[in-house]
Protein backbone atom coordinates (compact mmCIF):
# COMPACT_ATOMS: atom_id res chain seq x y z
CA UNK A 1 0.00 0.00 0.00
CA UNK A 2 1.56 3.26 -1.09
CA UNK A 3 2.13 6.31 1.07
CA UNK A 4 -0.74 8.22 -0.53
CA UNK A 5 -3.17 5.32 -0.03
CA UNK A 6 -2.23 5.22 3.63
CA UNK A 7 -2.81 8.96 3.87
CA UNK A 8 -6.33 8.45 2.52
CA UNK A 9 -6.85 5.80 5.20
CA UNK A 10 -5.61 8.07 7.96
CA UNK A 11 -7.83 10.95 6.80
CA UNK A 12 -10.89 10.31 8.94
CA UNK A 13 -12.89 13.36 7.95
CA UNK A 14 -12.56 13.44 4.16
CA UNK A 15 -11.07 10.04 3.36
CA UNK A 16 -13.21 8.04 0.95
CA UNK A 17 -14.73 5.91 3.72
CA UNK A 18 -15.93 8.97 5.64
CA UNK A 19 -19.36 8.99 3.97
CA UNK A 20 -20.10 5.45 5.15
CA UNK A 21 -19.00 6.30 8.68
CA UNK A 22 -21.45 9.20 8.71
CA UNK A 23 -24.24 6.97 7.43
CA UNK A 24 -23.34 4.38 10.08
CA UNK A 25 -23.49 6.98 12.81
CA UNK A 26 -26.94 8.05 11.60
CA UNK A 27 -28.17 4.45 11.47
CA UNK A 28 -26.85 3.82 14.98
CA UNK A 29 -29.24 6.43 16.30
CA UNK A 30 -32.22 5.62 14.12
CA UNK A 31 -35.14 3.72 15.67
CA UNK A 32 -36.15 0.67 13.67
CA UNK A 33 -38.53 -2.24 13.65
CA UNK A 34 -41.64 -3.15 15.60
CA UNK A 35 -39.78 -2.70 18.87
CA UNK A 36 -39.04 0.92 17.88
CA UNK A 37 -35.48 0.77 19.18
CA UNK A 38 -32.24 2.11 17.83
CA UNK A 39 -28.80 0.61 18.45
CA UNK A 40 -28.16 3.54 20.76
CA UNK A 41 -31.18 2.69 22.92
CA UNK A 42 -29.48 -0.50 24.12
CA UNK A 43 -25.82 0.22 23.45
CA UNK A 44 -25.59 3.92 24.20
CA UNK A 45 -22.55 5.65 22.76
CA UNK A 46 -20.85 3.41 20.23
CA UNK A 47 -17.42 4.80 21.09
CA UNK A 48 -17.80 3.28 24.55
CA UNK A 49 -19.92 0.17 24.06
CA UNK A 50 -18.43 -1.01 20.77
CA UNK A 51 -14.81 -0.50 21.73
CA UNK A 52 -12.94 -3.71 20.96
CA UNK A 53 -16.01 -5.55 19.69
CA UNK A 54 -15.05 -5.90 16.02
CA UNK A 55 -11.61 -7.13 17.06
CA UNK A 56 -13.16 -10.25 18.58
CA UNK A 57 -15.33 -11.43 15.70
CA UNK A 58 -16.20 -14.02 14.29
CA UNK A 59 -17.59 -15.73 17.39
CA UNK A 60 -19.68 -18.79 18.11
CA UNK A 61 -23.36 -18.06 17.50
CA UNK A 62 -25.94 -18.55 20.24
CA UNK A 63 -26.96 -21.90 18.75
CA UNK A 64 -23.36 -22.98 19.43
CA UNK A 65 -23.15 -24.90 16.19
CA UNK A 66 -21.84 -22.26 13.85
CA UNK A 67 -19.75 -19.14 13.73
CA UNK A 68 -21.18 -15.73 13.06
CA UNK A 69 -19.33 -12.64 11.91
CA UNK A 70 -20.02 -9.04 12.91
CA UNK A 71 -22.48 -8.40 10.07
CA UNK A 72 -24.47 -11.48 11.01
CA UNK A 73 -24.42 -10.43 14.67
CA UNK A 74 -25.82 -7.03 13.70
CA UNK A 75 -28.65 -8.85 11.97
CA UNK A 76 -29.30 -10.93 15.10
CA UNK A 77 -29.91 -7.62 16.93
CA UNK A 78 -32.05 -6.34 14.04
CA UNK A 79 -34.29 -9.39 13.82
CA UNK A 80 -34.51 -10.63 17.41
CA UNK A 81 -34.27 -7.44 19.43
CA UNK A 82 -35.34 -4.58 17.17
CA UNK A 83 -37.93 -6.81 15.46
CA UNK A 84 -36.84 -5.30 12.16
CA UNK A 85 -36.06 -7.03 8.87
CA UNK A 86 -32.48 -8.21 8.53
CA UNK A 87 -30.17 -5.88 6.64
CA UNK A 88 -29.08 -7.35 3.34
CA UNK A 89 -25.43 -8.40 3.44
CA UNK A 90 -23.23 -6.01 1.46
CA UNK A 91 -26.00 -3.39 1.32
CA UNK A 92 -25.10 0.22 2.00
CA UNK A 93 -26.84 0.15 5.39
CA UNK A 94 -25.05 -3.01 6.51
CA UNK A 95 -21.66 -1.76 5.36
CA UNK A 96 -22.17 1.63 6.99
CA UNK A 97 -23.11 0.08 10.35
CA UNK A 98 -20.32 -2.47 10.07
CA UNK A 99 -17.80 0.29 9.30
CA UNK A 100 -19.11 2.46 12.15
CA UNK A 101 -18.95 -0.36 14.70
CA UNK A 102 -15.59 -1.54 13.36
CA UNK A 103 -14.21 1.99 13.56
CA UNK A 104 -14.61 1.87 17.34
CA UNK A 105 -11.93 -0.83 17.43
CA UNK A 106 -9.41 1.09 15.33
CA UNK A 107 -5.95 0.79 16.81
CA UNK A 108 -6.86 -2.15 19.03
CA UNK A 109 -5.24 -5.55 18.62
CA UNK A 110 -7.19 -8.37 16.99
CA UNK A 111 -8.31 -10.56 19.87
CA UNK A 112 -9.30 -14.05 18.72
CA UNK A 113 -9.13 -16.97 21.14
CA UNK A 114 -9.74 -20.54 20.13
CA UNK A 115 -11.24 -23.14 22.47
CA UNK A 116 -12.56 -26.68 22.16
CA UNK A 117 -15.82 -25.49 20.65
CA UNK A 118 -14.27 -23.21 18.02
CA UNK A 119 -11.25 -25.38 17.18
CA UNK A 120 -13.13 -27.33 14.46
CA UNK A 121 -13.98 -24.05 12.72
CA UNK A 122 -10.39 -22.91 12.88
CA UNK A 123 -9.30 -26.19 11.36
CA UNK A 124 -11.88 -25.83 8.59
CA UNK A 125 -10.71 -22.30 7.86
CA UNK A 126 -7.07 -23.34 7.84
CA UNK A 127 -7.87 -26.23 5.50
CA UNK A 128 -9.67 -23.82 3.14
CA UNK A 129 -6.67 -21.47 3.20
CA UNK A 130 -4.35 -24.30 2.22
CA UNK A 131 -6.61 -25.97 -0.30
CA UNK A 132 -5.97 -25.54 -4.02
CA UNK A 133 -9.05 -24.34 -5.89
CA UNK A 134 -10.27 -22.95 -9.16
CA UNK A 135 -9.11 -23.37 -12.72
CA UNK A 136 -5.74 -21.91 -11.74
CA UNK A 137 -5.56 -24.53 -8.99
CA UNK A 138 -4.04 -22.15 -6.47
CA UNK A 139 -4.33 -22.14 -2.70
CA UNK A 140 -4.42 -18.90 -0.68
CA UNK A 141 -1.30 -20.08 1.15
CA UNK A 142 0.73 -20.26 -2.05
CA UNK A 143 0.55 -16.50 -2.57
CA UNK A 144 -0.11 -15.17 0.90
CA UNK A 145 2.07 -17.44 3.04
CA UNK A 146 4.86 -18.48 0.72
CA UNK A 147 5.16 -15.58 -1.73
CA UNK A 148 4.07 -12.46 0.12
CA UNK A 149 6.21 -9.43 -0.61
CA UNK A 150 6.85 -10.52 -4.17
CA UNK A 151 5.04 -8.91 -7.10
CA UNK A 152 1.96 -10.11 -8.92
CA UNK A 153 1.46 -8.11 -12.13
CA UNK A 154 3.12 -5.00 -10.72
CA UNK A 155 1.43 -5.16 -7.31
CA UNK A 156 2.99 -6.44 -4.09
CA UNK A 157 1.40 -9.63 -2.71
CA UNK A 158 0.24 -8.88 0.84
CA UNK A 159 0.12 -11.34 3.70
CA UNK A 160 -3.68 -11.00 3.53
CA UNK A 161 -4.50 -9.92 7.07
CA UNK A 162 -8.08 -8.68 7.44
CA UNK A 163 -7.20 -5.81 9.75
CA UNK A 164 -9.30 -3.11 8.14
CA UNK A 165 -12.64 -4.48 7.01
CA UNK A 166 -14.94 -3.23 5.68
CA UNK A 167 -12.47 -1.50 3.36
CA UNK A 168 -12.75 1.24 0.79
CA UNK A 169 -11.20 -0.59 -2.11
CA UNK A 170 -10.04 1.83 -4.78
CA UNK A 171 -10.78 -0.86 -7.36
CA UNK A 172 -14.45 -1.01 -6.25
CA UNK A 173 -14.64 2.78 -5.81
CA UNK A 174 -16.69 1.95 -2.75
CA UNK A 175 -16.80 0.22 0.61
CA UNK A 176 -17.00 -3.56 0.76
CA UNK A 177 -16.75 -6.44 3.21
CA UNK A 178 -14.14 -9.13 3.65
CA UNK A 179 -16.51 -11.54 1.94
CA UNK A 180 -16.58 -9.34 -1.13
CA UNK A 181 -12.79 -9.32 -1.16
CA UNK A 182 -12.62 -13.09 -0.71
CA UNK A 183 -14.99 -13.45 -3.66
CA UNK A 184 -12.54 -11.39 -5.70
CA UNK A 185 -9.76 -13.79 -4.70
CA UNK A 186 -11.84 -16.78 -5.72
CA UNK A 187 -12.68 -15.17 -9.05
CA UNK A 188 -8.97 -14.42 -9.34
CA UNK A 189 -8.13 -18.12 -9.26
CA UNK A 190 -11.13 -18.85 -11.47
CA UNK A 191 -13.16 -20.60 -8.82
CA UNK A 192 -16.92 -20.24 -8.43
CA UNK A 193 -17.33 -17.96 -5.39
CA UNK A 194 -19.71 -18.94 -2.57
CA UNK A 195 -22.85 -16.87 -2.00
CA UNK A 196 -22.67 -14.03 0.50
CA UNK A 197 -23.14 -15.30 4.03
CA UNK A 198 -21.82 -18.79 3.28
CA UNK A 199 -20.36 -20.53 6.36
CA UNK A 200 -17.19 -21.24 4.38
CA UNK A 201 -16.46 -17.50 4.34
CA UNK A 202 -17.03 -17.11 8.06
CA UNK A 203 -14.74 -20.06 8.84
CA UNK A 204 -12.06 -18.59 6.61
CA UNK A 205 -12.56 -15.19 8.24
CA UNK A 206 -12.12 -16.84 11.64
CA UNK A 207 -8.86 -18.44 10.53
CA UNK A 208 -7.61 -15.18 8.95
CA UNK A 209 -8.44 -13.14 12.05
CA UNK A 210 -6.76 -15.74 14.29
CA UNK A 211 -3.74 -15.69 11.96
CA UNK A 212 -3.65 -11.91 12.32
CA UNK A 213 -4.13 -11.96 16.12
CA UNK A 214 -2.35 -9.15 17.87
CA UNK A 215 -2.28 -6.95 14.78
CA UNK A 216 -3.98 -3.58 15.11
CA UNK A 217 -7.40 -3.02 13.59
CA UNK A 218 -7.50 -0.35 10.86
CA UNK A 219 -11.21 -0.28 10.05
CA UNK A 220 -12.24 1.29 7.75
CA UNK A 221 -9.07 0.81 5.73
CA UNK A 222 -8.28 1.97 2.20
CA UNK A 223 -6.75 -0.59 -0.15
CA UNK A 224 -5.89 -0.69 -3.87
Amino acid sequence: MGRETRAMQDDETTGPAALWLLDGEALWGRKAGAAGKSCADCHGEAAKSMKGVAARFPVLGSSRDKLINLDQRINVCRVELQKAPALQLESREMLSLSAYVGRQSRGMPIDIHVNDRTQPFLDAGRAAFNRRQGQLNLACAQCHDRNWGKSLAGNPIPQAHPTGYPIYRLEWQGLGSLQRRLRNCMIGVRAEPYAYGAPEYVELEFYLMWRARGMKMETPAVRP
Binding site: T14, P16, L19, L22
Partner: protein, 106 residues
Protein backbone atom coordinates in the same frame (compact mmCIF):
# COMPACT_ATOMS: atom_id res chain seq x y z
CA UNK B 1 -29.91 14.61 -1.06
CA UNK B 2 -26.51 12.98 -1.44
CA UNK B 3 -24.22 12.81 1.54
CA UNK B 4 -21.64 15.58 1.68
CA UNK B 5 -18.91 16.41 4.18
CA UNK B 6 -17.47 19.90 4.55
CA UNK B 7 -14.56 20.56 6.87
CA UNK B 8 -13.53 24.07 7.79
CA UNK B 9 -12.70 25.94 11.00
CA UNK B 10 -15.65 27.55 12.79
CA UNK B 11 -13.63 30.61 13.59
CA UNK B 12 -10.71 32.50 12.00
CA UNK B 13 -8.80 35.76 12.31
CA UNK B 14 -9.56 38.46 9.76
CA UNK B 15 -7.33 38.00 6.75
CA UNK B 16 -6.37 34.43 7.68
CA UNK B 17 -6.32 31.93 4.83
CA UNK B 18 -8.43 28.92 5.79
CA UNK B 19 -8.43 25.50 4.20
CA UNK B 20 -11.77 23.97 3.23
CA UNK B 21 -12.03 20.24 2.56
CA UNK B 22 -15.15 18.88 0.89
CA UNK B 23 -16.32 15.37 0.06
CA UNK B 24 -19.43 14.42 -1.89
CA UNK B 25 -20.97 10.96 -2.20
CA UNK B 26 -21.33 10.29 -5.92
CA UNK B 27 -20.37 7.41 -8.23
CA UNK B 28 -19.02 9.71 -10.94
CA UNK B 29 -19.94 7.24 -13.67
CA UNK B 30 -17.57 8.15 -16.48
CA UNK B 31 -19.65 7.25 -19.50
CA UNK B 32 -16.80 5.15 -20.85
CA UNK B 33 -17.54 1.91 -19.03
CA UNK B 34 -19.46 -0.94 -20.63
CA UNK B 35 -21.65 -3.66 -19.16
CA UNK B 36 -20.73 -7.31 -19.59
CA UNK B 37 -22.95 -7.30 -22.67
CA UNK B 38 -21.03 -4.40 -24.20
CA UNK B 39 -23.62 -1.68 -23.61
CA UNK B 40 -22.26 1.73 -22.75
CA UNK B 41 -23.17 2.88 -19.23
CA UNK B 42 -24.28 6.50 -19.62
CA UNK B 43 -22.25 9.30 -18.05
CA UNK B 44 -23.52 10.52 -14.67
CA UNK B 45 -21.12 12.87 -12.92
CA UNK B 46 -21.00 15.99 -10.80
CA UNK B 47 -20.01 18.70 -13.27
CA UNK B 48 -19.65 21.80 -11.11
CA UNK B 49 -18.77 22.71 -7.54
CA UNK B 50 -19.02 26.25 -6.21
CA UNK B 51 -18.38 27.96 -2.91
CA UNK B 52 -20.08 31.27 -2.17
CA UNK B 53 -19.11 33.45 0.77
CA UNK B 54 -21.90 35.78 1.86
CA UNK B 55 -23.35 35.49 -1.60
CA UNK B 56 -20.10 36.08 -3.53
CA UNK B 57 -18.64 33.14 -5.46
CA UNK B 58 -15.09 32.64 -4.20
CA UNK B 59 -14.28 29.28 -5.76
CA UNK B 60 -15.54 27.28 -8.70
CA UNK B 61 -14.42 23.95 -10.15
CA UNK B 62 -15.57 22.21 -13.31
CA UNK B 63 -15.33 18.45 -12.83
CA UNK B 64 -14.85 15.89 -15.58
CA UNK B 65 -15.19 12.07 -15.65
CA UNK B 66 -11.53 11.88 -14.65
CA UNK B 67 -12.41 12.93 -11.11
CA UNK B 68 -12.57 9.89 -8.84
CA UNK B 69 -15.81 8.60 -7.30
CA UNK B 70 -16.86 10.34 -4.07
CA UNK B 71 -15.04 13.49 -5.15
CA UNK B 72 -12.77 15.30 -2.73
CA UNK B 73 -12.11 18.98 -3.41
CA UNK B 74 -9.79 20.94 -1.13
CA UNK B 75 -9.20 24.66 -1.60
CA UNK B 76 -8.53 27.82 0.40
CA UNK B 77 -10.26 31.11 0.97
CA UNK B 78 -9.50 34.30 2.90
CA UNK B 79 -11.56 34.83 6.06
CA UNK B 80 -12.78 38.34 5.23
CA UNK B 81 -15.84 38.73 7.45
CA UNK B 82 -18.22 36.67 9.55
CA UNK B 83 -20.96 35.05 7.58
CA UNK B 84 -22.26 32.06 5.69
CA UNK B 85 -20.45 29.89 3.22
CA UNK B 86 -22.65 28.01 0.80
CA UNK B 87 -21.35 24.97 -1.04
CA UNK B 88 -23.15 23.69 -4.09
CA UNK B 89 -22.62 20.59 -6.23
CA UNK B 90 -24.52 20.21 -9.53
CA UNK B 91 -24.29 17.59 -12.19
CA UNK B 92 -25.86 15.32 -14.78
CA UNK B 93 -29.48 14.22 -14.51
CA UNK B 94 -30.36 17.25 -12.43
CA UNK B 95 -28.05 16.31 -9.58
CA UNK B 96 -27.89 18.95 -6.89
CA UNK B 97 -26.52 19.03 -3.35
CA UNK B 98 -25.88 21.97 -1.04
CA UNK B 99 -24.35 22.58 2.35
CA UNK B 100 -24.02 25.73 4.39
CA UNK B 101 -21.55 26.55 7.12
CA UNK B 102 -21.08 29.59 9.31
CA UNK B 103 -17.73 31.23 9.83
CA UNK B 104 -17.00 33.62 12.66
CA UNK B 105 -14.24 36.07 11.83
CA UNK B 106 -12.57 37.80 14.76
Amino acid sequence: MARVVVNLPGQARRGEVIEIRTLAGHDMETGFRRTQLGELIPRNIITRFTCSYNGVEVFRADLHPAIAANPLITFTTVATESGTLEFRWTGDNGFSATHTATLTVV
